[in-house]
C-alpha cells in the first residue's frame, strides 16, 4: 500500500539559510504522525513545503509524493488543484485563518465548490453537515454567523470542517490547539479524531506539546535544527528515547501528575540558528552525553529498534528520563506573616453602546468578588482559562489603588488609604514579571539601562555594580549589559525581566504567565531559577498562569478561577490529587500527559458548550451551564439549589475549599 504522503530528503532553503535539511517521513491513511520540535526547528516550514505555500525565494529539493504523485516542481495551477482537495491544512490561529467579512457557512461552501462541481445550494447543505459533524450546535443557524461571532474553539472547529470538506487524503495540522484553552483543546482534539474517522485521512500533527502527541499520534518524529533526530512509535519514543534531545525534552516538560513535583530539567543553551550550525551533531553543544566524536560529523539516523530510528552515535547509552524522586512536599504549615491579602475584590467594566450618545447597556463583571491571601515565602498559583478574570485581578493588585469594591492589603497596608509617597514605597516591595519578555523590555534600551531604571527611580545610588550583581544572580554574563534585548534568546530575555523585578529587593513578585511564551526546554530553566530565587531571597510569588502543569511545579497553593470567581482554592498537592470542584476536575482531566499508555487509558471529563458571556453570568452557580455533575449526576431538586443560590466557599479537608454545593473530592489525573 502506498503511503498517503511520503516525504524523502526534503530540503528547504529560505534566504540562503538551510531551514529544513533532509526531512523524510511517510504516513499511511488513517495514521497520525506527530511532528515535534521547538520553535525554529523547521517543522512549520516543512508543512508549508508540502502545501506549496512557501514564501517566494524559498528553494525546495527532495521529493514530496502525495499518493504516489510528485509535488515538488509542480506548477502553481496544478498545486492549487491538489491543495484543499487531496491535502488540506488546519492552522494555528483560527481568527486569522477565516475571512472576517464572509459568513462561516459561505467560507466552508467555498472550499467545497472550489474542488467539486456542485451547485451553490448543495455546497451550502454540505457546509451545514460539516459544521454538524464538528459538533457545532444548531449548525444551520451558526452557518450564517460571521467569524467574530464564534469563540476560538468554534472557529477552530469551523476550520477543521473546512479541511474535511473535500475528503482529503492528508490533513496537516499546524499547532491546531496551541492558541486554545485546555478544556477547548480537549474538545478540538476529539473533533479531529472524528474528522479522521470520517475521512480516513492521514494526519500530520505539528506541535510542540508532547502531551498532545502522546494521546493523539501513532508515530512521532522529533525534529532538531531542520533535521529529524528521532522517529518511531509513540511508545518507543516516549519510553525508550534513544536521542539525548528527545530524552531532554521529555524531562523538561512540567507535568500535572505525581511526577510533577519533581523539578523538570532544562536543556542548556539554545537551538542553533539555521545557517550557523555547529560542525558535527547540531545538538552536541547542548548535549549531556557529548564526546569528541560528536563534533566530527553529523550522525546519520541509526536503526535502534523495529521502526525506531535515532540520530545519535551513543544511542545505546541514552536512558529515558528517570522518574525523579518525589521532590519537596511543601510545608504543611503556612507561614505566620501575610504578604498580600485580597478580600472580596470586584472589578467591573461598563458596557457602552453608541458613538455620540454613549449609553450603558450592561456591566462586565471581570472580577466578581475574590478573596485570597499569600503568606511570606509562599507561592500562590492563580489559574484559569482566558476570560476568567485572572489578569484583571492581577492588574487591580498592581495598581495599588482603591478597588471598586473589596480590599487589597499589601504588606499590612490597605491600598485604599495610601498616600502617593507610601504607594511609591510599596512599589519597591511588589514587582512584576510579564509574559512576553520581548514586549516587556523596551526595545530601544540596553540591558544596563533597563536594569538601572528601577534603581535610578528609587535613588539607589550608582547602579553600575548592582546591575552586574543582578545579571549574575539570574545566570547571565554581566559583560552583556551593553547589549539590546533582541540580542538575547527568549529564555535569557525572561531572565533579564526577572532581574529587573528583583532590582529593588522586593518581597512579593507577581508573575504573569512567566514561561508561557518560552520553549519547553527553556521553560524548565526559568522555572528552576524562580524556585531557587524564592528560597535564596525569601520571596513570595503570586503566579498567574493558564498552564496548570507549570503551576503545579512551583506553587504551594492554587486558586482556580472561573468567570471572575474563585472556584477552588487550597494546597497544591490537595487540589491536584483530589480536586473537589467539578470545574477543577474538568480542567485537570483536560490536560494531556506526556505518557502515551496512561493518556490512552484516561477518561476525560469533557466540558460541553461555551463559556457564558461575563456580562450576563448564569444565575446561582456560574458554572452550572457547563457542569458535568449538574447535567448528569444531580436530581431535579438538587439542581434547584445550583440555579438559585451562588455557592459559598466550603472548606473540605485541611487546606482546601471549593465553591460548590455538591463538591466531592475526586482523583482525575
Amino acid at each position: 500500500m502506498t503511503p498517503a504522503l511520503e516525504v524523502t530528503d526534503l530540503r528547504v532553503t529560505l534566504g540562503g539559510a538551510p531551514v529544513v535539511r533532509g526531512l523524510g517521513y511517510a504516513v499511511r491513511k488513517g495514521e497520525v504522525l506527530g511532528l515535534v520540535g521547538e520553535s525554529g526547528c523547521g517543522k512549520s516550514v516543512s508543512a508549508a513545503a508540502v502545501m506549496g505555500l512557501l514564501p517566494p525565494g524559498a528553494r525546495v529539493t527532495g521529493s514530496i509524493r502525495l499518493g504516489g504523485r510528485e509535488l515538488v516542481g509542480l506548477r502553481e495551477r496544478e498545486l492549487a488543484a491538489v491543495r484543499g482537495s487531496a491535502v488540506s491544512m488546519v492552522f494555528q490561529d483560527p481568527l486569522s485563518a477565516l475571512t472576517p467579512v464572509y459568513r462561516v457557512g459561505d467560507q466552508i461552501a467555498e472550499a467545497v465548490r472550489t474542488h467539486q462541481k456542485v451547485t451553490k445550494e448543495q455546497a451550502a447543505v454540505r457546509a451545514v453537515d460539516l459544521l454538524d459533524l464538528v459538533g457545532i450546535p444548531d449548525p444551520a443557524r451558526r452557518a450564517l454567523a460571521f467569524p467574530h461571532e464564534f469563540s476560538g474553539g468554534m472557529r477552530q472547529r469551523a476550520l477543521i470542517a473546512m479541511a474535511m470538506a473535500n475528503d482529503p487524503d492528508v490533513i496537516i495540522c499546524d499547532e491546531p490547539t496551541t492558541a486554545l484553552d485546555v478544556t477547548v483543546q480537549a474538545q478540538v482534539l476529539e473533533v479531529l479524531k472524528t474528522a479522521q474517522r470520517q475521512t480516513g485521512a492521514a494526519i500530520v500533527m505539528i506541535t510542540h506539546d508532547l502531551g498532545v502527541v502522546a494521546g493523539f499520534a501513532d508515530r512521532v518524529l522529533v525534529m532538531y535544527a531542520g533535521r529529524p533526530v528521532e522517529s518511531g512509535d509513540v511508545d518507543d519514543v516516549f519510553y525508550h528515547a534513544r536521542m539525548p534531545y528527545t530524552a531532554g525534552l521529555l524531562g523538561a516538560v512540567p507535568r500535572i501528575d505525581a511526577a510533577g513535583r519533581a523539578a523538570p530539567a532544562p536543556i542548556d543553551g539554545a537551538p542553533p540558528a539555521p545557517g550557523d550550525l555547529p560542525p558535527g551533531c547540531p545538538f552536541a553543544p547542548r548535549c549531556p552525553l557529548r564526546v569528541e566524536a560528536c563534533d566530527e560529523r553529523e550522525p546519520p539516523l541509526f536503526e535502534v529498534g523495529p521502526g525506531h530510528r535515532a540520530a545519535c552515535i551513543r544511542w545505546d547509552e541514552v536512558s529515558p528520563p528517570l522518574p525523579a524522586p518525589p521532590g519537596r512536599t511543601g510545608p504543611g504549615v503556612r507561614g505566620p506573616r501575610t504578604v498580600l491579602a485580597v478580600d472580596g475584590l470586584v472589578r467591573h467594566y461598563p458596557l457602552v453602546k453608541g458613538a455620540v450618545f454613549r449609553r450603558r447597556v450592561g456591566t462586565v463583571h471581570a472580577v466578581a468578588g475574590i478573596s485570597f491571601d499569600i503568606r511570606e515565602g509562599e507561592t500562590l498559583g492563580l489559574v484559569g482559562e482566558s476570560g476568567s478574570g485572572k489578569t484583571t485581578a492581577l492588574t487591580e493588585i498592581l495598581e495599588l489603588t482603591r478597588p471598586q469594591q473589596g480590599r487589597v492589603v499589601v504588606l499590612g497596608r490597605d491600598t485604599a488609604a495610601l498616600t502617593a509617597a507610601q504607594r511609591m514605597e510599596i512599589r519597591r516591595d511588589v514587582q512584576v514579571v510579564f509574559q512576553d519578555p520581548l514586549a516587556s523590555l523596551d526595545p530601544r534600551m540596553t540591558v544596563h539601562d533597563i536594569l538601572a531604571e528601577p534603581l535610578r527611580t528609587h535613588r539607589h545610588g550608582d547602579p553600575r555594580r548592582r546591575v552586574g550583581e543582578l545579571l549574575a544572580l539570574v545566570g547571565l554574563d554581566p559583560a552583556h549589559a551593553a547589549r539590546y534585548p533582541k540580542d538575547f534568546s527568549g529564555g535569557q530575555r525572561q531572565r533579564i525581566a526577572i532581574a529587573r523585578a528583583l532590582a529593588l529587593q522586593p518581597r512579593l513578585l507577581v508573575l504573569d504567565e512567566p514561561v508561557s511564551a518560552l520553549d519547553v526546554s527553556v521553560q524548565a530553566g526559568v522555572l528552576g531559577l524562580l524556585g531557587a530565587l524564592k528560597t535564596e531571597l525569601g520571596l513570595s510569588y503570586l503566579l498567574v498562569a493558564h498552564d496548570l502543569a507549570v503551576v503545579r511545579h512551583i506553587a504551594d497553593r492554587v486558586a482556580v478561577m472561573y468567570l471572575g470567581r474563585i472556584a477552588e482554592i487550597g494546597r497544591a498537592d490537595a487540589v491536584y490529587t483530589a480536586p473537589a470542584h467539578p470545574y477543577t476536575q474538568a480542567l485537570l482531566s483536560a490536560i494531556p500527559l506526556p505518557d502515551p499508555a496512561r493518556e490512552r487509558a484516561r477518561e476525560r471529563i469533557l466540558l460541553t458548550g461555551e463559556r457564558p458571556d461575563p456580562a450576563s453570568p448564569p444565575s446561582g452557580c456560574r458554572f452550572r451551564t457547563r457542569c458535568p455533575t449538574f447535567r448528569s449526576v444531580l436530581t431535579e431538586t438538587e439542581r434547584g439549589l445550583c440555579a438559585d443560590t451562588e455557592p459559598e466557599m466550603r472548606p473540605l479537608g485541611e487546606d482546601q475549599s471549593a465553591a460548590c454545593h455538591y463538591a466531592e473530592r475526586l482523583a482525575v489525573v
Binding site: 512584576v432 523596551d442 526595545p443 540596553t446 539590546y484
Partner: protein, 303 residues
Amino acid sequence: MTLSEEVAEESAGDDAGRPPPPSRARAVTGRFLSSRQGRAGALVLTLVFLFAFAGPLVSPWSHTDKDFAAFLAPPSAAHWFGTLQTGADVFAVTLRGLQRSLVVGLLAAVVCTALAALAGAFAGYFLGWTDRVITWVTDLLLVLPAFLILAVMSPLFGAGQWPLFVLMLALFLWMVTAKMARGMTISLREREFVRAARYLGVPPVRIVLSHVLPNLSSLLIVDATLNVSAAILTETSLSYFGFGIQPPDVSLGTLIADGSRTAVYAPWTFWFAAGLLVVTVLAVNLIGDALRDAFDPTAREPR
C-alpha cells in the same frame, strides 16, 4: 528630549556596545544607504548646503553690495549669475536666500516635530483632561486659516525677527503629526514595557520621555524630514506674497517674487532661485521617502 538628542543617544548607544550590537539605527542606516533615491537625496542636499554656505566665500560680491555699473546684466565673468535691477549680484543674493530658506526650513521642521511629539505623547499617555485640552488646541489650530494669520502677523517679522517667523511657521505645522503621535502613544501605553515601568514606580513624565518618545522616533524622524520641505515651501510662498522674511533680508521666496516680474526678459533673475528651490525640496523629499522605507522593514523587502 528633542529629536536631535534622541538621534544622538541612539548613535551613542552604538559606540558604547562593544562588539557593536546590530542596533536598529545601524540597520536603518544600512537600508537607507542601500536605496538609490536615499543616496541621491542625501548627496544633493549636502551639495546644496555646501553651495549655500561655501559659495559666498568664493564670490567677490556680498548680498548687500550693489554694482552701479551693471543693472540687470546677464551672467558674465564678473557676475556669474548676472545682476538684478538694483545692481545686486544674483549669485550672492541667491546664496543668501538659500541659506535663509534652509535654516528656516530645518529649524521650523525640528521645532514643529518636537512640539508634535511632546503634545501627542502627553495627550496619548495621560488621556483624560490633558488629552482633552491638547486635542482642543490641535483641533482649533487645524481649523484656523494659518496663511491668513501669518499674513496678519507679518509686520512683526521685521528685520532680524526671523526666529519669531520660524516659531510661527512651526506652530501651524505640528497638528497632524501630533494626532498621529497621540494615536501611537495610546497603543504604546498598553505595551508591557510601559506597564512594567509604571509598576516600577517610574514617574509618568519620565515614562513619556524615556519610553514613549524613543519608540515614536521612527515616525518622528520621517516626519521631520517631510516637514523640512513643507516649511521651506510655506516660507517661500509667504515670502512671495511679502508676508515672510522682510527686506533687507532675502529668502528664496522674496527672490522669486521679485524675479517673477523680470523673468520674461531677464530670466537669470528668476530661474536660479526657482531652480535651487526645486532641487532642495526634491532632495529633502527623496530623503524622507527613503527614510520612511528604511524604518518600515516590510515596505521594500527583496522579492
